[in-house]
Chain length 235, copies 2
Amino acid sequence: MAEIKVPVVRNILQANERLASENRRRFDKAGIFVVNLMSSPGAGKTSLLERTIDALAGRMNIAVIEGDLQSSYDAERIQKKGVQAVQINTDGGCHLDANMIQIALDSLDLAGVDLLIIENVGNLVCPAEFNLGEHEKIMILSVTEGDDKPIKYPLMFQICSVLLVNKIDLLPYTDCDLGKIRQSARQLNPAGKVFEISCRTGEGFAPWLSWIEDKVSEHRKNRAGAAASPHAGKH
Amino acid sequence: MAEIKVPVVRNILQANERLASENRRRFDKAGIFVVNLMSSPGAGKTSLLERTIDALAGRMNIAVIEGDLQSSYDAERIQKKGVQAVQINTDGGCHLDANMIQIALDSLDLAGVDLLIIENVGNLVCPAEFNLGEHEKIMILSVTEGDDKPIKYPLMFQICSVLLVNKIDLLPYTDCDLGKIRQSARQLNPAGKVFEISCRTGEGFAPWLSWIEDKVSEHRKNRAGAAASPHAGKH
């Protein structure tokens, strides 16, 4: 079986890389900061989006791509916040890929968008292998999942530049050791940032929001630069 | 990309079905009741095993196959309980398949085993598509994951004959609506059983343990029948 499987996975990943690069060029040209948000099912991706949008909506233009096996439940939750949201249904597929993002982009008006958040399918494994063209990969781990998750799902923790440890309001009722999470995460990804938050109470959100704002300013400058360039608008 | 992907997935699934049937015949011949245990990362699979083994160890012979991307952390936890445990490392793979189980069985002494529990990789998506030769698929959903999970990951809820709703000790601190979980689960799988439990406190374990004991008795009869048959031992 290995003989059948390995070359095909390689082809798919190569094809995906090509489309991811195309997406990335499009985002950079438009000066949009793009985040690929990943976690286990129920760790709090959509709740994070809701609270982040509430906090930042007056200060920047946000759009969201929602990935789910089925249903448009999450995109509906996000649209209620007054931002553009597109739902991708993978029809059972366990991750988003760059091609799905390319198709979803046709349904979004990117003009003036500062921040695009792509909420991946809830899965700590497969989404880690597929670049979408994003600038940063971000993951959420909820304390109720347990402090052994970094050593059990190392790839996801290695590739994400930001780890949001969510549901810290539930810490007193669990056996989760935050210090152990911090330590394993640092070992797997020494340059990664860790923010401890509660999407339910809003605790710990300030540093996370500042991080997003800094990144958005950085990428906005690219857009300004492109507009001032003599080549702007030629492609 | 669809042209490359679809036929290959079919080949893999077909090859898997063949091996799953072989595993199933082996389990039936030995009179072992075999369970494929699935959930999101951190929903409580290993904790369920620990408490179930503690409760049933005197009454039956239990063996465990642990599936993880990496590490042998879970098998070590289980071995401390004094039962046979084998660890499969998928090396990044997002699910167990029947071939991995066949290889793991070579490291287990199946003689006299009554119950074999296979703990799949923590993932609500991909493991749902691969039969391992088990008699029953069982899943755990923790209340901290939220009450929208059945409608968002329907295949897993459809194929599992038992849904264990775990961490009910945390219910007072979450917004999870147990009634909504029960209702969606019933719609997706009208014949499925639902047990509400806490692996931390032991609440709700009695009906789950009775269910396991009934199933084990049923399959033990097969073994007794096989031994009394004139064809026994000929293959």
